[in-house]
Symmetry: C2
């Protein structure tokens, strides 16, 4: 059988992660990387992989089974996903939660009118976390769900610190408050404020002569980003930052606690958690599994936009339904 | 809109759990309990619920939207699920892993030829744990999956102890070995023997004059049940057993660790865990959510046998797809 031909649009951390994930699939191959940069400046992990300018996608209709869109949610995907869903089956990781309904509608229209599958908002949140929120709420409706994030790097918060005058470099970690986690895990259903759920840890490199007190204060009082959290600021050297804070770890947990019994006397606690050394590489791995699903949905002509809620889990696996029932059920 | 009419066949701990779970659904109602016992001897939690003899199901065709089968996997479900799938949309919790392929085939044939949906092997293992095994293996194929069970009561092991001469009553707990759990959670992929994964804790009440040393030895050397495990035996009074060991707690975890990166340099750990005060009530809650899914699949004429692998998560929730995307994705 001909392996599924995958294209990648956008070769940052996520696109690179998709390339790496595809090295471990037997039923899918990377047909090409497409970039809006000068292709000669893009070095794939496997130098045998062809790199083309994104314009070349115009000519690729019929040659790619699924195009995985690896751009950003702010500017790239709102334009790219509906546009490319007219020509390809696509998968994206659109993660601006508030704009998902609009994004879905636009991709759905493009995909349905052209006969394509558009799988959106794939990854872990939105993605696997969403799936757990939905399933656990449906199973334990008399219950309360919590989502915690971290310990992990927030690029947005790191960038916000870097924009402060006198800051040369910075790395921000989001960390769940351990006592809140423990309370929820024990089956309690506390009302938790923003401050009670997560704290923020900042590692900052300053330029010579910068006022550290002012920078600390500017960080800790920054509206939305930091003012609603307990935030610690630690000043380190560029060498220390480079040596100890170059990874992109993340993770978190969805915890749902519910009551059952004639008088709610039984507490049931379910938790899905992730501890990721590399956030983009894990997200990329989820995208690749859902690219397989997109291909199969397309074979069945189940066109239109889909989210993780709309796709039966069996579509993700290269194994046959018989094999899955015998080995994993 | 008319609520979904649910029938329950079999009123043990699981059937009772289904009745209780249905008290918290707005779109589903319990139309009746069916039993092979004398119906007058069955006391539902809500005395307004009609209780009929199972024979009455013959006349109920068209009056129940979904029948939830709450019998045992050893003798009841292999007969009941294929038989009732000829007349009703059904959901069961068939959990004899080795016989699932055969059970699936028989239910599939009955359901397809008669135009029904038969959802089998629903619960948490098989069920939610299977779902996590499948998804995590598909996402991180360069990885290793582990399933741990407990701390929880094993009815089968408790029964096995009760059959020993001189034993009046017993309760057995299956407990994951903490050091194994910690090793796996840390991203290591140890090869674990049966003994290294779980231990067994037994609370035993003996008849007057019984030889405790012999009983301990008989338990610890019982083939399959105990001989491959580190098993502790503690003798207590019937009063102590009744006071402290009447619950049916259970739980466990599916942990999958995978490697990503150009050289497998990043460890990714995913875990799904359950801590249940009541195993049958939680299983019942899962059955009820999948009864909703069975009803919807039937509306779409997606007939035949289905497992948790074949059903898109969105079918489980009473919320509309739009509402789910806006609130939970």
């Amino acid at each position: 059988m001909q392996p599924i031909q995958i294209g990648i649009l956008g070769y940052g951390n996520l696109g690179r992660g998709v390339e790496l994930a595809l090295q471990h699939t037997e039923d899918m191959v990377l047909a090409g990387i497409f970039t809006r940069r000068d292709p000669s400046g893009v070095q794939p992990v496997d130098s045998a992989v062809p790199v083309h300018h994104a314009d070349k996608l115009e000519e690729m209709e019929g040659q790619l089974d699924v195009l995985i869109l690896c751009g950003g949610s702010a500017k790239d995907l709102p334009v790219q996903t509906p546009a490319y869903a007219k020509k390809f089956h696509v998968v994206d990781s659109f993660d601006t939660h508030a704009n998902i309904p609009e994004h879905f509608s636009r991709v759905d229209e493009a995909a349905k009118t052209s006969g394509h599958v558009g799988v959106i908002s794939i990854g872990w949140d939105p993605g696997l976390f969403s799936l757990n929120r939905l399933m656990l709420e449906a199973i334990l409706p008399q219950g309360t769900g919590y989502t915690f994030w971290g310990k992990g790097v927030s690029q947005g918060h790191s960038d916000a610190i870097r924009r402060i005058e006198g800051v040369q470099d910075a790395r921000q970690y989001t960390i769940p408050v351990e006592s809140a986690l423990e309370a929820v895990r024990s089956g309690k259903t506390p009302h938790l404020t923003t401050r009670e759920k997560h704290r923020r840890e900042c590692f900052v490199v300053v330029r010579e002569g910068a006022d550290k007190d002012r920078i600390t204060k500017e960080i800790q009082t920054m509206p939305k980003y930091f003012d609603e959290y307990d935030t610690t600021v630690q000043f380190i050297t560029q060498e220390e930052l480079d040596a100890h804070h170059q990874g992109i770890p993340h993770g978190g947990q969805v915890i749902h606690t519910g009551k059952t019994g004639a008088n709610g006397e039984h507490t049931q606690v379910a938790e899905f958690s992730l501890k990721l050394d590399s956030n983009p590489e894990f997200t990329a791995s989820v995208l690749v599994a859902y690219a397989r699903a997109a291909y199969r949905l397309a074979q069945e002509k189940q066109y239109g936009a889909k989210t993780i809620f709309d796709i039966a889990p069996g579509y993700l696996s290269p194994k046959s339904p018989e094999e899955l029932r015998a080995s994993l059920l």
